[in-house]
Symmetry: C2
DNA sequence: ATGAAAGCGCTAACAA
DNA sequence: TTGTTAGCGCTTTCAT
């Protein structure tokens, strides 16, 4: 492998100092335009390639953002990542992405790697079973900005980007109640996570408000894996009277379950009305089309990275500890509409 | 921000040389086990964190793999990435991921960034409209291994990981013909890309083999965007006689189009049989369930990274220029089954 | 088994 | 506007 071209080579060739070359390359204001042109030209000719390690080492910055997500391959997460990548790329930042696979253990490992990779900032959405904050603490201590998104943790020195999960849970439930449902089931994920906990709170609040019972039968916590729809069917079968409405916090699971319910002879929405969450493309394909809550995923990724970059560049510093709440909205489709049963 | 702990701090404290500390940290064979223990212990106490930039600068390696994909948020791509991340992470490599958004221009930019970031290897799946190889050439020239996956380019010094697109296209078409279809439509993506070109070749080959006509009406090239299903409907309407079978190379598009076809009064599969591609979860939700080709996405990501890592570590060097062909398989569901029409 | 010393390529403070 | 100089923190000969 032949030697790389460095700024020294360029400097020598041009009879100027490496410092000048460096300045020329980086658009330093106090540089002769003539000099800059000569440098740029020669650099191009020599196929010069800036060495980031040297630059990072010197500047103590990596221009890299670390992202930890539960899984890469979910509709919401991959859209969030897509938004993040776009904005990061535009801002001249690289993205190092890793997934926890919903395991706290892996999340901790990943956080350590990010820390050692000296990311300029950390963006993280928590795994199902994460309990501790210890893996985040080192970042805080070292003043590396941390932004939580989607599955967040309330911490005074971290910004978070979320939707109003409580409100959405409440609205979804009220919508079902408005359609005449009186025996509701809520199918959701780990209650350790705000997204599920808050939606459940919304669910409960709506039930209470309308004087409907909230019993052991009303809640089913799942991992949203391939088995989840079967678990829902089992629950339905086990209930004293089958539910007349189900609020899922995941469209894919809702859609698969609708298929099973129909096979089992339940009419949707007539016997069982269904509301999902996320506005996954699948919601427009399942029959009946799924009522759901639109999740502004791409936007969430964009905002999260924008925030962190502004912070890093010292502009518009969103106060530490504040939350950015994105607009989410119910999309009513056929799976929940029971005009005949509405009071 | 207080100063970082370096190997010098540890060396001073222990009255040994930085070189020894470095060796201890990196499991150098010729190091006293006692010394190593003392170093490790102090390092832990001091919260020592190795500086990758310095190490990379010195070693001229980044332990980072660059990945360029058309889009992050597609079912197939996000699964491929998920597989890649898992294996990379296990192997101690970071992943820098960027998306071309199907634009050659952005792909070129991204490649340059990867190059400057000094990734140890490049993994890439090409954008719809990429024509040139120029952005890849620098990697080859500098002997940075390049692996193409999914949307590949035939190049003597790059490995590629693919499925047998020709065969799958052929099988899918033959399946439709076997179901009595005689007037087929093929809906696909940019023919600049092997995946679509090869599937089309399979389509044509099957038609020819059974003496069926391949006309201008037989092919519709789309961008698989939100408008694609409408374009398909327009084409159906414009055809002299509507097709009795459609082979889509994308499940999401196939599913959405099925919805529209049903609305327009076509019975699927009776009037129009449909085959998709990818085995997207949506294929099990649309009614009738979609016949498709299972795409081993996660596996593809895993293999691609495994290959590159083995190469980097000098083991099992898959010959340059060779192709790894993964097993893909048709999954027959209801959208294509017309027992009454089978000959 | 350990140490001394040089240098990876870049940037920034200071000087001119 | 440019140059001088001194590291950033690590690894790796070459000695010992």
């Amino acid at each position: 492998m032949k030697k790389e071209t460095t700024i020294y080579d360029i400097a020598r060739e041009l009879n100027i100092s490496p410092a000048t070359v460096s300045r020329a390359m980086n658009g330093h204001p106090a540089i002769n335009i003539k000099t800059k042109e000569r440098v740029d030209k020669l650099a191009r000719e020599l196929g010069y390639q800036s060495n980031r390690f040297a630059s990072n080492l010197r500047k103590q910055r990596s221009h890299t953002l670390g992202v930890i997500v539960p899984r890469l391959n979910s509709v919401v997460m991959s859209s969030i990542l897509s938004g993040m990548e776009r904005v990061a790329n535009e801002g001249g930042y690289n993205l190092i992405i890793s997934q926890s696979l919903e395991l706290e253990k892996k999340e901790i490992e990943n956080a350590r790697t990010m820390f050692n990779s000296r990311v300029d900032a950390l963006l993280i959405s928590l795994a199902f079973d994460t309990d501790t904050f210890d893996h985040i603490a080192p970042f805080i201590k070292k003043k590396i900005p941390v932004v939580f998104f989607d599955r967040v943790l309330d911490h005074p020195s971290c910004t978070s980007v979320v939707i109003d999960n409580f409100r959405d849970g409440y609205e979804a439930t009220r919508h079902l109640i408005g359609q005449g449902c009186r025996n509701l089931l809520h199918v959701t994920g780990s209650l350790k996570r705000n997204v599920y906990r808050d939606r459940l709170r919304g669910f409960e609040t709506a039930l209470r408000e309308f004087g409907l019972p909230y019993t052991d039968d009303s809640l089913l916590v799942t991992g949203f894996d391939a088995e989840a729809p079967n678990a829902v069917m089992d629950r339905i079968a086990a209930m004293e009277t089958p539910p007349d409405g189900i609020f899922f916090t995941n469209d894919a699971c809702a859609a698969s379950t609708i298929i099973l319910m129909k096979k089992a002879g339940y009419r949707v929405p007539h016997d069982i009305a269904v509301v999902g969450f996320n506005d996954d493309p699948i919601s427009k394909v399942v029959e009946p089309n799924l009522t759901t809550v639109h999740y502004p995923a791409m936007e969430m990724g964009e905002i999260a990275v924008q925030t962190i970059i502004s912070h890093l560049e010292g502009n518009l510093n969103v106060n530490q500890g504040s939350a950015i709440v994105l607009r989410s909205e119910m999309v009513v489709r056929e799976s929940s509409l029971r005009p005949d049963k509405t009071i």
